[in-house]
Amino acid sequence: MLNVQNVSKAFDTPRGPLPILDDVSMSLERGQSAAIMGPSGSGKSTLLYIIGALEPPSSGTVTLDGVNPWALPEAKQAAFRNERVGFVFQDHLLLPQLTALENVLTPAIVRPDGVTNEIRERARELLAQVGLAERAEHRPAELSGGERQRVALARALIGAPGLLLCDEPTGNLDRTSAASVADLLVDLHQKLNTILLVVTHSLALAERVGHRYELDSRRLVS
């Protein structure tokens, strides 16, 4: 279960603290999904990064299955992200020097078992699930935008995370590709029984997930 309690965030600026989030709370059970919407600069991505243990909150707590990543030391926090969280960003952020398969395997490198045959097989399965079985050995430069984002989705799911966080996953895609990626997201979320939290401007995408939140004036509105 994801539990966000009274999270606030303010950035230090030369002109003093700049509040972004104010007393945000929410919770999602395994298998649930939600979309966070709001205008640019409203703090959607910041909230997502706080939940994904990438950005510390100024106050409040975040727990996933009872574990507060911000209470963990840096190395365990990294392991927390690696094992429990999957990220998909607006830019696919694939490593250009690696093939699609290798990009999917990237998180596995720092797992205790490393890149095993089993995980390699799982990566191939995921690529097959996102429709890229034939493009496994292609490099990002040889893939379309939609294909890259699907590789990114497969990478996010390689560790079978309990929480899948997507930051504008279809923001850079055409309508068809966006629809395709959205289909995949929802489909895989259901199959894998994860918690899915999507930050998006896309109403179409937001409509396909269970809950919809709006960030307005630094507060989360259901």
Binding site: Q97, E102, V110, G114
Partner: protein, 1124 residues
Amino acid sequence: MTIGALVRRSLRHHARTNAAVVAGVACAVAVLAGALLVGGSVRGSLRALVDQRLGRADVVITAQTFFRDALADDIRKTAPDLVDAAAPAIAANAVVTHESSRRRASKVVVYGIDDRFFALHDVNRSAPEGRDILLSPGLAAELGVADDDALIVRVERPSDIPLESLHGRRDEGGRSLRTRAAGVLPAEDLGEFAPSPSQGPVRAVFMNLARLQSDLGIDGRVNLVLFRRTPGAAGPLLTALEASARPEDLGLKTSVLGGVALIESEAGLLTEEVATHVNDIAAEAGATAMPVMAYLANEMRVGDRATPYSLIASLDPATLPEGSLREGLRAPAHPYPPIVLNEWAARDLGAKPGDRLRMEFYRWLDEGRLGIESAEFVVSAVVPIAGLAADRDLAPDYPGISDSTDLSDWDPPFPIDLGRVRQVDEDYWDAYRTTPKAFIPLEHGQRFWGSRYGSLTSIRVAPAAGEDPGDVLASLQAGLMLRLDLQAAGLQLIDVRQQGEDAAQGAADFGQYFLGFSFFLLISALLLAALFFRLGIEQRMREIGLLQALGFPARTIRRLFLAEGLTLAVAGSLAGAALAVGYAAFVLYGLRTWWSGAVNTTALSLHVSPTPLVTGVLAGIITAAIVIILSLRGLRGLSTRTVLGGVGSAAPAAARTASRRTVTLAIVSATGATALVAAGFARVLPDAAAFFPAGMLLLIAALAAFRLSLNAGRGPALSGGGSGALSRLGVRNAAWRPGRSVLSAALVASAVFMIVSVDAFRKGGDDALEPDGGAGGFAIIGESALPMVHDLNSVDGREAAGLFGADDALEGARFYPLRLRPGDDASCLNLYKPRRPRVVGVTEAFVEANRFNFASSSAKSDAERANPWRMLMRPQADGAIPAIADATSLQYVLHAGVGDELIIDEDSARPIRLRIVGAIAHTVLQGEILIGEPAFLQLFPDQQGFRMLLADLPRAPDAEAMMERIRIATAALEEGLVDAGLDVESTNDRLAVYNRVENTYLSTFQTLGALGLLLGTVGLATVLARNVLERRRELALLRAVGYAQSQVSRLVLSEHLMLLVAGIVAGVLAAAVAILPALIDRGMPGGWTLPAWLAVIFAAGAIATILAGRFALGRPLVGELRSE
């Protein structure tokens, strides 16, 4: 908006990246122009030193023997337009001992000067008076002399009579003068006066000319005249010298004696050349020349009766008037030559015609001792003591004999047994003095007593009937001066100013040296500039793509960037010119301080001239332009879409072409390296020409192979976990930008190559005592200020030389004396170009000892191959003198090789053609050219005795005991031969001096290589920082997917440490090939320097990498994930 405006804006916008390119180019130009400036500065400094040490003297006359001091004024009067001032002086070798401290300095030059010396140099001082002497600053410091200190100056005593002849005064080779130090003569007051260019400290003392002349017994004579040319006047002084010189200036004595003109020599013997000219002149004048060879016989014996110590005259009967003397000398020479006795001798010996007579006489033997030889004669006539037979002037003046009142007062320079002198002998002396007691035919006298100095003691020229002998003498004097080559006869006229300026060009071009030393620094700087430029272009890939998308033709885009690049090249080159001055100043500071061991002087200063700077700037612009053009070529083959994506990865076809080129480069370089190594092993090429270039080619091949390994499959597959998997991912990252990765590795590799390969050439403790070692197995080497003539291998010879009580110290020692014509040091210790190098004459015994290791030779027969020294005794078909020299000196100082002809003494009347027949490898004889003794005596008849020696000492059980043995022998020799001013040192010490020079050069090379390494680490760090900054989003993603900060750091570091390691491995491998001969000869270097250097290189690279990684990863990465 124009193209120009676009270029300007771009330059401004990318100022930071451009500054890095400018800095790289500036470094390269600074190194290049700086090296040229160093060369110019060394030459300028040497020239300045020549000017300082010559003062205002432009031309000198110098001679081995002494001539009239009035010759100076005579020449000045003869050529008033040419000569502004003249100063006669004496220059003599000396040993100076500080009386109270007993400190001793040899190889000191004593100058006898008067006020004219200072007047010539426009120095407002007076010459020292009485026993006062002035010291050069270097000598005063060396001896620790204070004013009024007493100094014993032992001066080489001039002797007209050769030491290596019967009448040579071997016991009076030097004269000790007790003097008072009257102060130090500063360098600006000519305290460092030296007619020959040298950069080392000057050891000189200056004393009153008249006093020195009086002390040496040569009143009115000098052996040096300085001339100052009239400003603006040009023209040779030789004509004036020829017009002013007289026979006595050449050591000839001319007089009229009893109706004949008499020609004799101060040396006691007339040279062949003089004798020939006298005979010719006499013949042309219709006069009759009568040659005479007189000698002293120790004994004449007939049966059991003997006459001691008799003068014998040998005469040519054809030149004698009719009479019994002529007839007696014409008697048949069988079975023995005839001898004519005067009545006194016949009576004393009880001899009559037909009796056999045995004569004993001394003869100077080549090994350095007097030997007693004998000859048998048949008495052919007895003549009365009348006429020519009563002529006591047939014998020349013998010091110690001719002037003695009694026979028992004789003080000749050879042993005589006065106990054998009887009253009748005294009576004869009283009555007839030096009147010969016997006469033999000239041809036999010359055969018995002739030597390399001549075979006549006098020539009498009788005028034709009715002629005045005075007129004959005058025509002989004039004719001789006309016909004799004054310079060949010993009066050397030397344009010291010109000679100094020529020599200041240097034995080696330091500009080239330092360009060579700085080569890798230069390469590193250029690579760095190329790297920065390439990074700049890669940074602007999207911009290039945009321009392409906007319809800019590819050529226009290339021109745009070329214009930017050239602007940067010009800016960098101009900045480099300014930096070059600093770089040159830095190198010269190093040469004066840390590396002064390489140049043997601290007198080098910066001389800035425009030529090297302009050359450096132009070369910098051209080279940088080429580098930039090559970088821009990388843009070809990139599709607009690729470029717009900012990826900068070549299209597959272009990548394949590049890959093929890399393969070709690797194969060609590796093949070339293999061929060169093979040529090196086959001795087709010298080691330096084979292995070092082979190493460089291998370096290129290794880097090409590295590039290919990065291309091939783009690195290892991702598998496993932990550090190994992270490292593999790092390697994959390095393969993503192969160009910059290879450039980074190349920067490191070239520095490693240079530092490692140079270190292997560092000279260490060679086992000098092995016969083929650097000392040829000789334990000690010595050089004397005054000539030594005695055979130190015999007990008698040692005692005669003054070595008493040294038998224990020298037990088992074997000496090899060497003849020496002093001159310019031909070793790397001398920065000046040796115009008149030191020449050593090696004896037969030395040749047969067959020491030292030959680097190469032109031996033709098996015997010569077995002992290449024998080539010195084989005359060359073309008349050149066979010579052997040290390989290092030949290569770097004399610039000649085996088989080459080397002309020395080019400034003299008789340049000497040497043919280099062998090169000995790295020896204690680096300062000299070696020729055979016979050739030496022929070329340098004036050089008397031996001035160098090498000696074997019995081997001690261990090195320490050997050192002690050498120390004891050295002390005994220096003490015993103090009068000769013998300086002895262990050959190991001498080798260490030469090693120090080479090692210092290597240190210089390594230091500049370390600067190259610095640039390499800067490049590596830059690439790392750049890579990280470019890939912050990727790294942020890794953080997002669960990589810990430490894992991201490890990933980044492993990638760049791999480049560092690749560079080190490539550099070490290439260096191993370059130093293969050294490795084979000496094995793996056992010292600490090489591992230390490798550790330093790795540490420097690693630290740079870590610091750059920390800098680049220091800021939070999360922000990079945002798309806004």
